[in-house]
């Protein structure tokens, strides 16, 4: 088996957190450096993994899980500390590490106080998110997921901020976010345990192993109910309309790093789980619920985009826009064919990088000016040209400009959606989100960055020092994956293939049974 590289990736931030514990809290620079170095180790290892997997598994067409580690943990319950990456989880892992690394260097003006606790929590958070993506065991997946929730809550209510446009305090935002996540996870837990129990009966031995669970053909009725519960849990996390309202509030309240991680990767756990667990194990249930998901997805796209038009707070614009973008992911999921799923997964990655950059820039501007109220701002490109470049790139990526990371995923998603006759009308409506997306994003860009110079912002400084890191790293990834989409799409395709195959197989089986679900 060799060197347990995934465990190493997981442990690096934890070790960073442990080291930070012993550093005096006044030494915030050293703590930041430790956090940066440890997350960079994870990132570097992940990039190496990505390249190795891409050349040795994707290009050769082998696919499947690699770098696996299996250590029985609770043998009686069938819990295995089982890690591994395939073409689906590796992009997500990469995403987590990109954002984890860059979020360390994000700016939020409240972060300076209690820097030590902040970075320790951040590192734990990053580890938790990474764990969910590389877990091959349902139990481990859930465990890491729960690890994520608590730091988020603490970070929002301590380092968060209220909004000027909506009567929302950071405590409210943090509470809402946490409760939503917990309600979602409660449903997940119930669904998981039920599935586990059923599987133990069918298999004869208890297991949480996702691959083994996927070999079972659960009864259709069971699948529909359990998938419903699971979809509720995961789509809460993915901020599907009408369960989205935690997301803008939460992002607006959270400090920059948390917004980045949350919008960038945490939400993606919802999509990841929905596909890896929901679609893979319960294809018949997925078939049943897909039309409803599609309808809500359209609502996501259009509804959130329209709301964006009415926003005056930068973080709310980005928050609602991320809700809108999740609609694309959901449409891809609802299409249930390989192209749509590829699009959905790639979209998650694309939105992650892009929204991280967006939040990073918004956070930087907020940190510098102490305001996110758009009418107060304006002409900031005079004072901070570098931040303006980052902001424009993020905005363009958000608007789905080709050559940046989000175009190919969106296109693929829509190809997948239009392939399904029943989804053509929803997809058509959702396509208007492309136009609306350009409207709100460009409005914000114009009103924040461009226009006459405002004297009151002459004191703010442009990006310098370590604040360059998020801009450079994220733009590099946005452009690289935009210009060479096959780096991402081939990978995703190899990961999604078994899931799509399972869906096809379940559909044909259902058709042979007389089509009665």
């Amino acid at each position: 088996m060799g060197f347990p590289v995934l465990t190493a990736i997981l442990l690096a931030p934890i070790i960073g957190a442990l080291i930070s514990v012993f550093i005096p809290k006044e030494e915030s620079k050293i703590i930041k450096a430790v956090a940066g170095v440890t997350t960079f180790i994870s990132l570097a290892l992940t990039i190496i993994l990505y390249i190795v997997y891409y050349t040795q598994y994707v290009k050769t067409g082998i696919g499947g899980f690699a770098f696996t580690e299996d250590i029985p943990w609770v043998a009686d319950l069938g819990v295995i500390y089982s890690l591994g990456v395939d073409g689906f989880s590796l992009p997500m892992l990469l995403l987590t590490n990109i954002i984890g690394f860059t979020s360390v260097f994000s700016r939020s003006w409240s972060k300076e106080k209690r820097a030590k606790e902040f970075y320790i929590l951040l590192l734990i958070l990053i580890t938790g998110v990474m764990g969910t993506f590389i877990a091959r065991d349902l139990f481990i997946f859930f465990l890491f997921y729960e690890v994520v929730v608590i730091p988020i809550y603490i970070m929002v209510i301590i380092w968060g901020s209220g909004s000027k446009t909506k009567d929302v305090t950071k405590e409210y935002a943090g509470m809402k976010l946490t409760i939503y996540l917990l309600i979602g996870s409660a449903f997940l837990l119930a669904a998981m345990i039920w599935m586990y129990k059923e599987a133990a009966v069918i298999l004869g031995s208890p297991t949480f192993d996702i691959a083994r669970l996927a070999t079972i053909d659960f009864p259709a009725q069971f699948q529909i109910i359990v998938f419903g519960m699971m979809a509720f849990g995961f789509t809460c996390l993915l901020s599907m309309f009408p369960f989205h309202s935690w997301s803008p509030d939460g992002y607006a309240g959270a400090p920059t790093a948390v917004s980045m991680i949350h919008a960038g990767v945490l939400k993606k756990i919802g999509g990841y789980g929905l596909i890896r667990i929901g679609l893979f194990i319960l294809p018949v249930g997925a078939k049943f619920w897909a039309p409803l998901i599609a309808i809500f997805a359209v609502a996501n796209v259009v509804y959130a985009a329209l709301i964006c038009l009415a926003q005056k707070d930068m973080k709310y614009v980005v928050g609602y826009s991320s809700v809108s973008h999740m609609g694309f992911v959901l449409i891809g999921v609802a299409s249930l064919n390989i192209i749509g799923l590829n699009g959905a997964v790639a979209n998650m990655f694309a939105h992650g990088v892009m929204s991280a950059l967006f939040f990073s820039m918004v956070g930087y501007i907020y940190g510098a000016t102490k305001s996110r109220y758009i009418p107060d701002l304006g002409g900031l490109a005079h004072q901070m040209p570098v931040a303006a470049v980052g902001f424009v790139v993020a905005a363009m990526a958000s608007a789905g400009l080709p050559g940046l990371v989000s175009f190919v995923p969106e296109f693929t998603t829509f190809v997948g959606a239009f392939k399904e006759p029943s989804l053509q009308i929803p997809a058509l409506i959702a396509l208007t989100g492309v136009v609306l997306g350009a409207v709100y994003v460009l409005r914000m860009v114009a009103n924040v960055l461009f226009g006459p110079r405002k004297e009151e912002w002459d004191h703010v400084e442009d990006i310098k020092g370590s604040y360059w890191i998020p801009v450079v790293v994220l733009i590099a990834f946005i452009v690289a994956f935009g210009v060479f989409p096959s780096l991402l799409m081939d990978m995703v395709n190899s990961g999604v293939q078994p899931i799509a195959a399972k869906l096809v197989q379940a559909t044909t089986a259902a058709a042979q049974m007389g089509g009665s679900i």
Partner: protein, 650 residues
Amino acid sequence: MIDFALHNAWLIPLLPAIAFVLIALVLRPLPKASAFVGITAILISFVLAIHVGLGVIQAGDQFVEHPLKQVVTWFEMSGLKIEMGVQIDPTSAMMLFVVTLVALLVNIYSLGYMHGDPGFSRFYAFLALFAMSMLGLVIAPNLLQMFVFWELVGLCSYLLIGFWWHKYSAREAAKKAFITTRTGDFGLLLGILLLQINFGTLDLVALGEMIPNFQQYTNLTFGGLTAIAAILFLGPIGKSGQFPLHVWLPDAMEGPTPVSALIHAATMVVAGVFLVGRTLILFKTVPGAMAFVAFMGGFTALFAATIAITQTEMKKILAYSTVSQLGYMMLALGAGSLTASMFHLMTHAFFKALMFLGAGSVLHAMHNEANIWKYGGLKKKMPITYWTFLTGCLAIAGIFPFAGFFSKDEILLVVKEASHGAQFGGLYTLLFWMATITAAMTAFYMFRMFFICFHGEPRDKSFHPHEAPFSMTFALVVLSVLSVFGGFVGAPWVEHGFGYYVRLGEFHHPQVDPVIIGVSTILALGAIFLAYWIYGKKAISHEALAQKFAPLYKLSFNKYYIDEIYLWLIHNILDGLGRVLWWFDITVVDGIIDGVANTAKVLGSVLRRVQTGKLQHYALVLFAGVVVLVIIMGFADTTSASLSLLGGVR
């Protein structure tokens, strides 16, 4: 060299891309070096493009049916394969030539025009990016690549219109341009998606083979394909400034003038025409869509011309003229002639770029004073600008032997031919007359501007205009020469002229229709004379005319209030919808959530009374619970064996 150029045509867009990266990342603080790199890159591209053109001419009509294609896979998965690459055929070779030529000239021109601007390097970076995108677009072998670069040129347009972003008007114009074209792109993307879904490919050659017999390959109906074509056409409507999405193009004049010349006159705006040209086979298959294109083109041509007559800013007039000429090209496509459309596209690129650059020269001299009524008598001060501008005006007016004459007459000819067709004959007859009237109006408003600006006495003595530096006049002269002689390549007496290469279907040798030539020339000359009469000789007071036709004048001067209508719609309908939904989100969606939370809170405040905080109460309840549990487990349920105390020791 020719062979090298043909097989390495991908270098043509790549070189400006490299220049962009170099300037953006390294050379930004060094304006001179930036300009040098930018110009060098586009110069090499230009040389390559010429060789590609020569190669295509050498090959005869071999590439017309079988384009030279080189592709690599961009990304693929089961059921979807997208390629990137180069497709060389006469049309793209012609476009390569036009784009690199105009881009090169504009790059040189900008040396003078943008001299001393704080964003000089940035400007060259954007120009390079634009050149890359536009060249990538014209060589695209499939629709998705076309769309990719289509969007990128849109981005460049956005960046360059908003180049002076500190100006309020520039920032708004840039935003408007991007969003308006985006609206059209919605249709284009939808159309592309539908083609991909139905035909399984976006490759132009493959589509060209499948579409005429679409019933074999798909289960599309005739109406379905018509709908796809119409939806696809939304993209060109936005990009090429066709009615009703033309509103962004006049505002786009907020950008620096070289940009207007390059992007908003010669190259980017014709992308829409080019796209329709590339997919003309689709439109030809469904005559309904064809008539739609023709009508939109013809209507836009006339519509924009009526606006241009009353405008008071040089660049605005030119912008509306561009809209009008784009309408012309669309009309030609709608009449089924790729040749006429592309021919006009080329000549238009020459003379319109020329006029924009001339206008830039004037603006440069007049310190960006835009109102033409402040000008006057510039002829003496700026002779080169004057003479070159005159050739441009004559070309666009369609006076023999200037370039516009040939292309415009060819359009009129094909429209007339189309009116003899079986379907929609009446429509094409109408369009023919509309186009003829438009031609006359074009001559009129062009010379109106010309006389106001260059003739008479200086109206505002505070300006001291001077001729532009050499870098600027050089571009003017080159374009002027092309405006004069550029039309000969498609002249009827040339054996294998323009139409022999750039065509769809069989080669028809251009015919000479004396009636059309006569009518159009007489009308154009008459219009020029009228303009001279009113504005040059001032025999008729133009103010009196405006008074006499006050309602019409106002309608035209205010551009039919279309901007106002859009603003009203956006501010009231779209934003209003946003506000209503936000209210809905806060009160209803959030309200339900908060309501659930509050229910829990209220329940909690009731239940907290149970928590007296007294230990004895808790202990009491605890032991009561023990009693109850023991009773249940021990006495009621004898099946739960392991927990049953009664059976425990037995």
